[in-house]
Symmetry: C2
Subunit: 483 residues, 2 copies
């Protein structure tokens, strides 16, 4: 045990402590848990097999939800001609400054520049103009999984990189009501996915007008609080009204034989969610993964594996778990158990099963939950039920821990001074009333450092007055420092 | 029946007949079966939901095969700095003339141009140089699903477009033998997938030196014969030796503690396979899809659906098929059965189930196989077994038909004159002996119009002499006109 503890310690010191330097702790985990690597392509990252397997699980779980609601996947070109990007005025103003431009094909200069898609509203709209004719063609519920490019100046793995992976849903509806309902429905899908699959509690709300997506009438978002008290916008859902439809001349003939503009939404989430998982659940021993997206849900580590019967029993446990659909790995390499404990803690594997000669003799195994390091002895005969219930317990425990952190760091404030006083305890969400004026929004940020995150669906009345100007308050707003 | 036949005919005339204009027939199917659409992005295509669903099935079936052999998925940046592309001399010579160049990020001119990846050997090699240290790190078995760009002058949907979707496997091995075995293993995976899942018979072989991938020591390929007698290179697998490892300074410490260069492979297949499906199996009524990748395997069409009990029974059949994992759709729209028959024939749905009041009374249903339009009456009680066996029968029938077409159009020739005489009957594969000289390869093409496709693994001795120069023959070669 002493030797193992020693080795544990050695591994642990390989990453910076969270409290010492959160940013460095974060990038240490990205590297040490084998999630990413850097390359000579500045501002982009390599997503390594362990990181990509998390993304594949995210994709699968979200894609199932999208398809169950009738969405279909498509693939649009990765390039957008400059003239097409310019068709909707607000949209081009928002994106043109941060796109990568292709100017040459082979040896030839292109007659028109193409940007690498930063998002694909314009391409979808051009296509919709071709294929939407009648009310029978509506709704169109399309989604696309792809990579997009935004030429960011400062980049960090998963959180902000010049290229990232995402999905972008683009839908067209006969009426504004239907389109609004879709916008909110998809926000709820994201919220459900975050809370259940990622064990990340989120605030659902609408962005203030100054913070809307370029070209949208309303932008909805889910906001999560990271371990350091900073906010992460985890996914967004936009309602466009018929603005793009007008700009792209998309019309349909209604049942009453009139010509109408359809109403549009788009919604997206990205590899940034992996950053959210790290910063919500990780600790000084490394990554902590929610079971629903963990590439390995259970790692089995044989103890004294050279002894007769140990590897046989370990393999038997593995086969039993694989048979019920658990993602299980048996590590029978010649590293010491202590080394393996640290390795899979770093990689955030939710459950560790230990099995040695004495366990076998007693008909039991040991299971350790990563998020709180609790150790349980359990009968081998009940392996399947115990592992299944432990996986649920882990998700629930991770969610409760994250929620407690958020609640501990959420400050209800009535004045600017209260905000500043609260934030001396550390960053977090500030709940405060707002009059609805952009001027006050800017001033809060200037005086306190926290910007508006969203106007939550679940409104409370903390005060009747705006936290900034003291005039009549219209809405409760969540404020915070954002990633 | 007369009315339906009329409607069938009307639908059928919407596409050009195959014998009249094969190229137009092909693009008609791409459009009318809702596989693709065009956009203002020249040379690129939109893959619509029905086309993309085929691709998703291809991906799933191939990805399972790759992972079962130990491969892991990763994601590399989509850009390659010009200096990185230039690290391997043959590689850059092959690709630089046909890449898209990004020269500006936002408003700023980049200090170094970036190309949009045409393939990712250089990126994988840069990464491998970082992560391979010891023999314990080998083999590295990586794969990537992504889109790539090659600035083609002439484009056609699926077959040749400026952007296309693909997977690219990149592996590193301790020895040349292991790497060669991987190259052949992956070619066999592609061949197995084509023959079993896509019902496309293929010739496995190695490319002649003049036709190798830029930077490879050997390029293996599978070649299929399309309905018009032209050949399609359906997938390739490359053996690189240690050429890239030397250019990128990738070394590992062997068990014997010596410093060695690892040996490399890459292998890929693309959305071009969808073009191969169309041109192998399609007919004048539209697409014909192999069951393994068909988005809808069975379409149920109720007859006289307004009559009591018809829709209930149709729904019951649907539920029973869905329960055994069949991808089934019930079309209860208000279109006529005749319209629906044509629609799903155009979309290539392998099986059509018809159910009407008289069928229900007799306890039977009708099943029609798309590829040969054979109609069978079968007892409702045996639905599951019958559909399962029909799906196998369809795959086997499609394969046999494609194989018969290839055999009918494969000509064994001993002289240039024999080649020219054979080809008057129409394009096809020519089997002829070759001395191994590039000069003869070029001359055969010049004199007959058919180029070397591959040197097949299954060699035959048609003659002792080269078909061109008459000197001693070294190999049997397949020749053909290529897409």
């Amino acid at each position: 045990m002493a030797a193992n503890a020693q080795k544990d310690k050695k591994m642990v010191t390989e990453i910076t402590a969270m409290d010492e330097d959160f940013a460095k702790w974060y990038t240490d985990i990205c590297k040490k848990a084998d999630l990413i690597d850097y390359s000579s392509v500045k501002g982009c990252m390599i997503i390594r097999p362990y990181g990509y397997a998390i993304w594949e699980n995210i994709q699968k779980n979200l894609d199932n939800r999208f398809k169950a609601l009738g969405h279909e996947n498509v693939y649009m070109p990765m390039f957008i001609p400059e003239s097409l990007l310019q068709r909707e005025k607000d949209h081009v103003a928002g994106f043109a400054p941060e796109v990568a431009w292709v100017t040459h094909g082979g040896e030839e200069k292109l007659t028109e520049r193409l940007c690498v898609r930063p998002t694909s509203e314009t391409l979808f709209c051009e296509h919709y103009a071709n294929i939407i004719r009648s009310y029978r063609d509506l709704p169109k519920l399309y989604n696309q999984w792809c990579s997009v490019v935004r030429w960011e100046k400062t980049t960090r793995p998963f959180l902000r990189s010049r290229e990232f992976l995402w999905q972008e849903g683009h839908t067209m509806h006969a009426t504004a009501e239907e389109a609004r309902a879709e916008t909110v429905q998809m926000l709820n899908v994201y919220a459900d996915f975050h809370e259940n699959d990622l064990a990340i509690p989120v605030i659902k709300g609408v962005k203030t007008p100054s913070d809307k997506f370029a070209g949208a009438e309303d932008t909805y978002a889910i906001e999560a609080l990271m371990h350091d008290g900073k906010a992460l916008q985890a996914a967004t859902s936009h309602y466009f009204g018929d603005g793009f439809a007008r700009a792209f001349d998309i019309t349909y003939t209604s049942k009453e034989n009139t010509l109408e503009y359809p109403h549009q939404t788009s919604w997206g989430c990205t590899t940034r969610m992996i950053g959210g998982i790290i910063m919500t659940h990780g600790d000084d021993n490394g990554l902590v993964l929610p079971p629903a997206v963990a590439p390995i849900q259970v790692v089995i580590i044989p103890v004294a594996q050279h002894k007769e019967g140990v590897l046989e029993k370990a393999n038997e446990l593995k086969d039993r778990l694989a048979a019920i659909g658990v993602r299980v790995k048996l590590d029978d390499s010649d590293q010491s158990p202590g080394w393996k404990y640290s390795e899979y803690e770093m990689k955030g594997v939710p459950l560790r099963v230990e099995i040695g000669p004495r366990d076998i003799e007693g008909g039991q195994f040991v299971v350790v939950t990563r998020h709180n390091r609790e150790k349980t002895f359990a009968p081998i005969a009940e392996l399947e039920e115990i592992i299944k219930s432990k996986l649920v317990e882990v998700r629930d425990g991770m969610y409760a821990k994250a929620l407690a952190n958020r609640e501990r760091r959420t400050y209800a404030c009535k004045t600017i001074d209260e905000i500043n006083a609260s934030l001396t305890a550390g960053d977090g969400f500030v709940k405060a009333m707002w009059c609805g004026e952009e001027e006050c929004e800017d001033k809060v940020k200037e005086l306190t450092g926290v910007g508006s995150r969203c106007i939550p669906f679940e409104q409370e009345n903390i005060s009747d007055k705006c936290v900034c100007c003291g005039r009549e308050a219209k809405k409760l707003v969540y404020w915070g420092k954002a990633y």
